[in-house]
């Protein structure tokens, strides 16, 4: 559910954030906020990836034994 929520936030950000006038840039703030958001999404995907790799390794071990 968390991943769906985060993807939702990204979509909303994409629609809401329109280019504004040039301003003094505090690049750090925006970078940390987007980093936290992306880390939330890819964190969930990473967990799935690691789990999937474990299954693949398990199968390859079984087949190797045969």
């Amino acid at each position: 559910m968390k991943i769906i929520k985060n993807v939702g936030i990204i979509l909303v950000l994409l629609i809401v954030l329109s280019p504004t006038a040039f301003a003094y840039l505090d690049a750090g703030t925006g970078s940390i906020i987007i980093q936290a958001l992306i880390a939330g999404i890819v964190g969930s995907l990473f967990a799935i990836k690691l789990f999937w790799n474990k299954i693949k390794n398990l199968f390859s071990k079984i087949f190797k034994k045969k």
Partner: protein, 461 residues
């Protein structure tokens, strides 16, 4: 003996320490403020793992060297890099490998409870054919929940130029010459094609990143609430790593990338040219060579195979790319392929124009090879022969140069679309011009060709 200590001009931003030279040897002072992190780097096993894997430059502690300033904790002597190169001189795959190395280091650092506190492309150098982190002070102890402070810098230094080179134009890494701290993300976002919004990594790390930066530019936000777990940081690192690893250049042809297949040499002339160059190199016995206009590095191979470190410059990013990929495939450690336009070489840039050195400040070298180059400089760039000779004399002690006469088909090709205003472009003027700066030691005609190879010795250096 008096010690001459000279601080390195590009090393002043990080309060953890700085680089200096004493009697020609490079040292790094580590300040007391960095003690805790340095000790942890050495004791946690991180230093050992990174140096064992050739990801971090090895160093030894130099307790015999006196502190340069009062806040000194330790002085270390890092292994020296043969030639300092910058990301605007790298081809696509060199920048890609430097990015992947940075991410690999970040992953290993996190596993040892440390994190990269900066992710500057200038902290990566090519050492024995591979990218390596040269800044030993780039690590700090990891605090659970804290975000990656260097994330923005990584995106600007690596992700933005790589995606621009891949999706817009291979020459766009030259923007790094203008933007010292990497390509601003709003600029990268504007330049990238619209279709890149459909790629999750570019949508988030570049486009949305740029918009979020802009949106929060003047807003006060409590960043302490933004917590990122170590697992999430590893996931973020893995995500960017996978994206960059799968970035490949589309098949593009450039004039020079195809040069080796289209050259007008016969096989015998080519072999003879190689033999003469090999003989000249042996006679000169240089410690290092710059091959100017090296193309894909065929002749750089001759010096490299003799164990001589050779910087292989070319103007064409595709030729440099081919050279780098070939060196990588064959395990060639003595060649460093770099992009450089000799008619407009990389200047010194940064603070007081001293942070990043110009090409000439990174010389002189023992031997320059300028093969099949003179007609490009003299005819395409309208440079008088004497000026070319003067330029080479400032860069090198010895010179192997190939004379390409006007009747040569490649020189004729350059004259096809323009008026021949080069009355002085002849062998006699060439020898006379170069004799002002060099002593002509040998001249050899290349078999089955109108070209002549010269070995010259600098009168000055």
């Amino acid at each position: 003996m008096t010690n001459i200590t000279e601080k390195i001009s590009g090393s002043f931003r990080d309060p953890s320490g700085f680089l200096f030279r004493q009697n020609g040897i490079l040292y790094r002072q580590i300040n007391k403020s960095y003690k805790e992190h340095y000790d942890f780097l050495m004791e946690s096993g991180l230093y050992k793992e990174l140096t064992d894997k050739h990801l971090l430059i090895p160093h030894k502690e130099a307790s015999e060297i006196q502190a340069v300033t009062d806040d000194c904790y330790k002085i270390i002597q890092p292994e020296e890099i043969r030639f300092i190169s910058y990301p605007y001189g790298w081809c696509f795959s060199e920048l890609k490998d430097a990015a992947l190395t940075t991410l690999e280091i970040q992953k290993i650092a996190l596993e040892h409870n440390m994190i990269l506190k900066d992710a500057s492309a200038y902290n990566i150098q090519f050492h024995q054919g591979k990218p390596i982190l040269i800044d030993t002070l780039s690590f700090e102890k990891y605090e659970e929940g804290k975000p990656w402070i260097a994330y923005r810098q990584f995106c600007q230094h690596f992700l933005a130029p790589l995606s621009l080179m891949r999706y817009k134009d291979i020459r766009l890494n030259q923007l790094l010459k203008i933007y010292l701290d990497g390509i601003p993300l709003d600029l990268a976002s504007k330049l990238l094609p619209k279709r890149t919004h459909l790629k999750f990594s570019l949508l988030t790390h570049i486009h949305l990143h740029a918009k979020t930066q802009d949106h929060y530019a003047n807003k006060a936000v409590d960043l302490n609430k933004k917590r990122i777990s170590k697992f999430q940081l590893l996931a973020l690192t893995d995500n960017i790593h996978s994206f960059i690893k799968n970035l490949h250049l589309p098949q593009i042809k450039t004039e020079w990338g195809e040069y080796t297949d289209n050259t007008n040499y016969t096989d015998e002339a080519h072999e003879d040219k190689k033999k003469i160059i090999e003989k000249f190199i042996s006679e000169t016995n240089p410690k290092s060579v710059w091959d100017l206009g090296a193309n894909t590095g065929i002749f750089s191979n001759i010096s490299a195979q003799k164990g001589i470190f050779t910087v292989s410059f070319d103007i064409d990013p595709i030729a440099v790319e081919k050279n780098y990929l070939r060196c990588k495939e064959t395990g060639e450690k003595n060649i460093l392929p770099l992009i450089s336009d000799l008619t407009n070489p990389a200047p010194s840039i940064g603070w007081e124009n001293k942070e990043r050195l110009s090409i000439s400040e990174r010389g002189p070298v023992d031997l320059i090879m300028a093969l099949a180059l003179i007609h490009h400089l003299a005819i395409s760039n309208n440079t008088p022969l004497e000026k070319i000779a003067e330029c080479f004399s400032k860069l090198s002690k010895n010179l192997i140069i190939e004379w390409v006469p006007k009747e040569d088909s490649n020189a004729q090709r350059l004259l096809r679309t323009r008026e021949d205003i080069f009355k002085n472009y002849n062998q006699e003027t060439f020898e006379k011009s170069f004799s002002k700066f060099f002593k002509i030691k040998e001249r050899c005609e290349i078999k089955e060709s109108k070209r002549v190879l010269y070995l010259m010795r600098n009168n000055g250096i």
